[in-house]
């Protein structure tokens, strides 16, 4: 019997499949002429988000270039993570004459429901180079353990 690829059977896996299709369609249309947008469906209303699962926990990344650290607010209640804040344009200066303006300013908010196995009392957040990184550890029981099987 051939080994079959293990597929996670949860709600996220379906959206992930859709994501892959979307990415492939987007790759057909090279969106270089419209910087910032990553595809036909990208409307650029929200800051981009990445969630990376590692053995010990989850890392959430949020792209916030030009946002000041003090204007970002991160809250977690249960397993719902909310990132909100405001991007204030530095260039909204006196008598600046624009030739090109691609950045958008204003307030933003993203809410994300995280997997159930998180430990929400030990969350670390760090803001560096316009990227917010939030580290959320997994519960002890949920950490992947490797078991060595002795062959006799």
């Amino acid at each position: 019997m051939a080994i079959m690829k293990w597929k996670r059977n949860d709600a996220e896996s379906h959206t992930r499949d859709l994501d892959t299709i979307q990415r492939e369609i987007n790759d057909l249309f090279n969106m270089d002429f419209f910087p910032g947008a990553r595809g036909l469906f990208d409307r650029n209303l929200f800051p981009a988000l990445d969630v990376v699962e590692q053995d010990s926990g989850y890392q959430v990344y949020c792209e916030l270039p030009g946002v000041d650290k003090k204007d970002v607010d991160v809250t977690i209640s249960g397993n719902v993570l909310t990132i909100k804040g405001e991007k204030k344009g530095k260039s909204e200066k006196k008598d600046a004459k624009f030739y090109r303006k691609e950045s958008t300013y204003g307030s933003f908010q993203r809410t994300l429901s995280l997997p159930k196995d998180i430990q929400n009392d030990d969350v670390k957040a760090d803001f560096q180079d316009g990227v917010l990184k939030i580290e959320i550890p997994k519960m002890e029981e949920a950490k992947r353990k490797s078991i060595t099987i002795n062959v006799k």
């Binding site: 910087p35 890392q59 990344y61 030739y99 090109r100 180079d129």
Partner: protein
């Protein structure tokens, strides 16, 4: 430049007779930013090698490719007077305009 590169969002404006460029390059710090002026070409490279964590991506919306952008500078730009800074993932480049190209007032005698 090998591989795919990301395109940064860019604002260009003039303020006090200088041309200012603002490029949004999240994940790029001063140390992995490279700005080169070659004749009339301004090349901006933002390396994001360190910006690709290992793991299983549950959500992936960010583009984590390196940035590479080229701009041609016309003869009004003083290539000896270019300053750059990087803060919160935004690269600011200030380009000076040549003295001889600045508007000047002609007094009527």
């Amino acid at each position: 430049m090998k591989g795919k590169s990301a395109v940064a969002k860019c604002n260009i404006y003039t303020v006090e007779e200088n041309i200012v460029m603002e490029l949004e390059m999240p994940g790029v710090s001063k140390d992995n930013l490279d700005i080169v002026v070659e004749d009339n070409l301004l090349k901006i490279t933002g390396n994001r090698e360190h910006f690709r964590p290992d793991g299983d991506y549950l959500v992936r919306e960010m583009n984590r490719d390196d940035y590479y952008q080229e701009y041609t500078l016309d003869e009004t730009i003083d290539t000896d007077n270019i300053q750059a800074g990087c803060e919160n993932g935004v690269v600011t480049i200030e380009l000076g305009i040549k003295e001889s190209k600045k508007p000047r007032k002609i007094t009527i005698s």
